[in-house]
Symmetry: C2
Subunit: 314 residues, 2 copies
């Protein structure tokens, strides 16, 4: 058995995970990210002990521990090279946690860990697999031959920062113009929804916001489903932009399967059917079997499962 820890800016979530990627027990505590890293590691170790107890097993049953961590993670040296959310720079997180737990620890980038989790449960053992997470940003991970692809410097797989619209107006927080993330994140969808509402005072979306409190990634989708024309335009345009990045990913990787994660993937076929249509139309591959494009299923559990299984692989 393994422990997977999803170390986020808000919560530390951890689970006892079996070899097949099934979570036996999980729990979480607040990260309180501004604390010294020693204190965070202390809480990570304590959480591991607690969940092993609550899973009715013993620490002796745990083969290894995997940690999914935001930022640039050097798995080889066990170092977090840089993490914006957690104020780590060249932090030897693996050694710190191994000392506390007396178990081998593997560090993995959190997006890679999530991709590995979805791959293990939903990847059909494919030789190539991509997870895209549409959230506050656009994240992703590429699994090749069963392992996360990291790049020579462990900084690869930043799929949200492929440039899809170089001459476009949208500015990405990373400093570039035209990043996929600046068009396909839920943040971008919310921005476009607000713009569309400003231009159409009769849109149903105004009533939706009165009833639901604030504009969210669901506003345009919900109202489009009810027939609101302005909302439909927002949704259609959003799905188009999501498709451009996917077309690039298809034309590069032609993976067996792409899963779309993040809360918006709960829109299901209302998102996926037009998305597949746009992506397959733009796919350079016209003669060979097509990449499957489906919704991810694990949501937040993907990170715990993938982190745990990263410790199994390495």
């Amino acid at each position: 058995m393994y422990i997977g820890i999803d170390l986020g800016g808000t919560n530390i979530a951890a689970g006892v995970v079996n070899e097949a990627g099934y979570i036996i027990y999980k729990s979480s505590v607040s990260t309180l990210a501004k604390r010294p890293i020693d204190e965070i590691v202390e809480d990570m170790a304590n959480l591991c002990v607690d969940i092993v107890d609550d899973a009715n097993c013993s620490i002796a049953d745990i083969e290894a521990v995997g940690v999914g961590c935001p930022g640039t993670v050097d798995s080889k040296s066990g170092t977090v090279a840089y993490s914006c959310n957690l104020k780590m720079k060249n932090t030897k997180l693996r050694a710190m946690l191994e000392k506390k737990l007396g178990k081998p620890v593997n560090l993995e980038n959190d997006a890679n860990a999530a991709a590995l989790g979805e791959y293990t449960v939903n990847g059909d053992n494919a030789d190539s697999f991509v997870l895209i997470t549409l959230g506050t940003g656009v994240g992703g991970g590429v699994i090749i031959d069963g392992k996360p692809y990291r790049g020579f410097n462990c900084a690869g797989g930043e799929l949200g920062h492929i440039i899809i619209n170089a001459d476009g107006e949208e500015q990405c927080f990373c400093g570039n113009k035209g990043c996929w993330e600046a068009y396909a994140s839920v943040t971008a969808l919310i921005r476009r929804t607000k713009q569309a509402m400003q231009s159409d005072s009769s849109s149903m979306m105004h009533k939706w916001v009165q009833e639901n409190g604030e504009v969210s990634g669901r506003t345009a989708f919900d109202c489009a489903k009810m027939g609101d024309k302005t909302a439909k335009v927002v949704v259609e345009q959003y799905i188009r932009y999501v498709s451009y990045g996917l077309i690039s990913i298809l034309n590069i990787f032609q993976p067996s399967k792409i899963l779309i994660g993040g809360g918006i993937s709960k829109e299901g076929d209302y998102l996926l059917n037009p998305l597949r249509e746009y992506v397959y139309a733009g796919d350079y591959n016209k003669y060979r079997e097509k990449t499957k494009i489906e919704a991810a299923t694990l949501f937040n559990d993907a990170g715990i499962i993938g982190a745990a299984l990263s410790a199994q692989i390495y």
Copy 2:
């Protein structure tokens, strides 16, 4: 020893290549691509016999033969699934050539073969490597752990068809708008050069064309070096567009090394220095070692060498 065949729409080039990727002898014949494929295979086989003779070795010294072929090549089944240039569709090219030569044959996509050739000679045994060829189109190949990355359906690695400018005006021959190829190919450079000349009748580029016959990929570069302002704008804009695709490739792969091939790479540092500057500025990786960006060195030999060595790997 191996034979590598670069099967192009115009020429069949073949070479006897040693294990280290050195061409001992090479020659070529015309493809005459409109002929029945049987006749082309006959000429491929005859060329193999001829070059073995001329290399002063015997067919018994040849371990295997590799063929780099344009289009979608299914290396596993030894089939050319589709090739536009050569009118092949589900053609069992491997079996046809093995029957003629009595040697094991491996088929590889031509861009992948070229990437493998450059990787073998200039790749420093890196675990990740990308070749980009800026020519009539934009081609490329990705080498991961010493092997060409193909995708599950062997249609991957179409790097020219990543979308870099979705809302831009340039139409790609593939049907999409915004493909990198529509901005970063020499074809695109020539088109932009002509447009710029139309808007500036005093540009040195008019004189250049009078002296050199027609607009080429060199027109704007040559005149920019001589100080022509309009040519400088064309070159600057072209290099910018080349950089956008490279930024995407870096943010996905973070390969150890990217080599830039095609005739335009002969511009050397005049191309590469500003290109590196733009690419590194847009690289999401700010804290880790940078990908090396250099000019390819093998040009047309890359395809022969890579095809030969693909037969060694598989």
